[in-house]
């Protein structure tokens, strides 16, 4: 079982650019959540996707958008990058949307650096 995979591993962008990060969930999982983890901080919830729809969004601006495909994989898009967007972006997958009962499995993350 491959577990949750994310690509790319590292990414360097400049301010104002746009970026797309990708996530493949653990086999059999239908729900994908995205988190942002700034250096020295805990992960912060960005949004969750289930059945190709955004189910809930955290306190992030509209510059952050996502998509889920029929095979349950997901993309996170960030437009008009700011220096403060530099962080580790984590994808978590689960079987079901209720994180109180459906264990989330995290990928290794994509390290985004904005210069």
């Amino acid at each position: 079982d491959a577990g949750v995979t994310q690509s790319p591993t590292h990414l360097i962008k400049t301010r104002g650019q746009q970026v797309t990060l990708r996530c493949s969930p653990k086999s059999g999982h239908d729900t994908v959540s995205w988190y942002q983890q700034a250096l020295g901080q805990g992960p912060q919830f960005i949004f969750q996707y289930y059945e190709e729809e955004e189910r809930q969004r955290g306190n992030f601006p509209d510059r952050f958008s996502g998509h889920q495909f029929p095979n349950y994989s997901s993309e996170l898009n960030v437009n008009a990058l700011l220096l403060g967007d530099s962080a580790l972006y984590l994808c978590a997958s689960s079987l079901g949307t209720d994180v109180s009962t459906d264990t989330q499995y995290f990928g290794p993350g994509t390290r985004l650096t904005v210069l």
Binding site: V4, S33, Y35, G40, Q41, G42, P43, Q44, F45, Q48, R55, Q56, G58, L90, A92, T97, D98, V99, S100, T101, T103, Q104, Y105, F106, G107, P108, G109
Partner: protein
Amino acid sequence: QKEVEQDPGPLSVPEGAIVSLNCTYSNSAFQYFMWYRQYSRKGPELLMYTYSSGNKEDGRFTAQVDKSSKYISLFIRDSQPSDSATYLCAATNSGGSNYKLTFGKGTLLTVNP
């Protein structure tokens, strides 16, 4: 005030020590509590899961929740160098529509041989 507060440490202990990691939370709706372990350059992995108040033990690890004081603890007995990692506490609500975990900052633990 953040919903989940955690002392970031760092914490350094000798091998074999008992480690105590702690968090406090402010949201009374939180009913489910987790501890995640995150090795350097890796994603978090679920270590312990607790519902409401009480203790849960799994091998060398014990998780405690005291809802009256809104206090969450993780104890590691006979700590090993392989336990060196960042430990994240997390919480979520009860009922439906629980789509997100709220994490603390994480505590960096180093166990020295």
